[in-house]
Symmetry: C2
Subunit: 312 residues, 2 copies
């Protein structure tokens, strides 16, 4: 199938075309450039990007399901990118998970897609922006990016999302962990899920104290939920709306979009350079330079300069 045909079908909202395009993004298809040029030329509307992150066990996919439902009630077309190797959203197709997602699996206005967090091309920061463009072209107005909050992931998600939701659960020692992992810096909204459990108030209190220690223009609200029963869904959406209003009024939204575009350009440029280098393996210029370093006392820095001049 032609790229333009595939894109036309995706714009028409056909799930298989959307799935195919995201697979091409994930696999670093040689047609990727053509796809992106065409997607961008048409200047699709910009979706609202919401990141969800949290430790394993806090109920991320249940909460994602709850938010999908809440936005569907508001008649929004929703996309979900589950960037998580341990996520229940597995497989290469658009599909729902076993828990809450099955409610939406047959809803044509919901796209759900899992992505490997560590692709051969550099993970979240590289492939996700392009997957977002595909979902935007398919008409998604809200896109939820769900990722497990381990290591670098929550920082990456914060750089991609307009609003980052950090999920916690009572009695998991998450409060202390949160401060340690620096998620306090990236959270725009805190959700304390499983709020029917003991320790919820203590977790909220601890969180509130920690938030108080950080000087930020936006003070992240703390929203209790019981996601598997859908409790607190409207409160989360309200908190998200308030944050969006803050982003727009303060000019922060434009700033985030700008930083995101800059990061994307840089990531593509670095990938391009890496692939130019990869083509040099077996290239006679690199071999000739190596021989000169070994035999004539040429230093590797000068050799590297010559190499760069050759591939520039």
């Amino acid at each position: 199938m032609e790229v333009s045909d595939l894109i036309a079908r995706a714009r028409d909202g056909q799930p298989r075309a959307v799935a195919r395009l995201i697979s091409m993004v994930e696999n670093g298809s040689p047609l990727l450039r053509e796809i992106m040029v065409e997607l961008c030329a048409d200047r699709p509307h910009r979706a609202r990007i919401i990141g969800l992150t949290g430790s394993p066990g806090v109920g991320k996919s249940t909460s994602t399901g709850m938010l999908v439902q809440a936005f569907r009630k508001r008649d929004k077309k929703v996309g979900v990118l589950a960037v998580d190797p341990s996520s229940p959203f597995t497989g290469g197709a658009l599909l729902g998970d076993r828990v809450r997602m099955q409610d939406h699996a047959t809803d044509p206005e919901v796209f759900i897609r899992s992505m490997a967090s560590r692709g051969h091309l550099g993970g979240l920061s590289w492939a996700t922006p392009q997957a977002l463009r595909v979902l935007e072209a398919a008409g998604c107005e809200v896109i939820l990016i769900e990722t497990v909050g381990v290591g670098q992931a929550e920082v990456d998600i914060a750089s991609l999302a307009d609003t980052t939701v950090v999920l916690l659960a009572p009695g998991m020692g998450d409060g202390v962990q949160a401060a340690k992992a620096g998620i306090l810096e990236v959270a725009d909204v805190f959700v304390v899920n499983k709020a029917d459990r003991d320790g919820t108030q203590a977790t909220i209190r601890e969180l509130r104290n920690m938030i108080g220690l950080v000087e930020r223009a936006w003070r992240p609200p703390i929203v209790p939920t019981v996601a598997y029963r859908g409790e607190g869904a409207d409160d989360v959406v309200n908190a998200l709306d308030e944050h969006l209003a803050y982003l727009e009024e303060s000019g922060e939204l434009a700033r985030r979009h700008h930083v995101r575009a800059r990061d994307e350009i840089e990531a593509i440029a670095l990938t391009t350079l890496r692939s130019r280098f990869a083509h040099l393996h077996g290239d006679s210029r690199l071999d000739a330079l190596a021989t000169r370093v070994l035999d004539t006392g040429l230093d590797p820095y000068t050799a590297a300069d010559e190499l760069l001049a050759a591939v520039g």
Copy 2:
């Protein structure tokens, strides 16, 4: 102190000058290029590079100590690079460790140095070749690179060393692990340390069976040792000498040197590119491109091309 003065002192075998130069390598000093040009111009002799790798607990540093002693008995000037965050060789200076290394701490013909495996410039593959050049300039004839065999490290070490020694210990399930981690592909010599323990023969048998499954021109020997008592030291040195003879006769040594020079040039070129990119943060060109992506529908691929043309 002037770079040329520092290099003169290192060539004179002064430990503090050697330590200072390796620190400059590790920290990515702006003088690095000048140092390397001067070190290479003089075309120092080439040291024999021996890599030692293995899982935690197999007795790597004790075995390294045993080998240092064995080469000192043969009147070789020895350098040790311990590229291992969990290694007992810590600190920024040339120093011995608490176990076997203390025998050599005051020996002026032995340089021992720890390096962080994950520096800001890209770890083992980047900084180690340059640290090797410093040790070669200081007159080291044999250089042992010790690193913990986890993930990518054993592959990296194999690309740097003339001979790679993989250490195992009986009863650690290392045999099976070895096959899994692909160390069978990189091992030139297997050492089964702690050979006074139960299970040594079983480990050797298992290893021999696995070696039999891989088709290679050089069949790696298996040498049992009890490193803390110095038992088997001569057998290891003999195995190393046999492998060196094989490398020379087969032309494999020249090939490995060539690949290593090529890798070093590539690593420096990539680092140079990355630093050019880093300088672009806050650069108006990248910002202008980001604005065009956001406002005019310029695709990020074309933007990346323009960026690359600008920094080329």
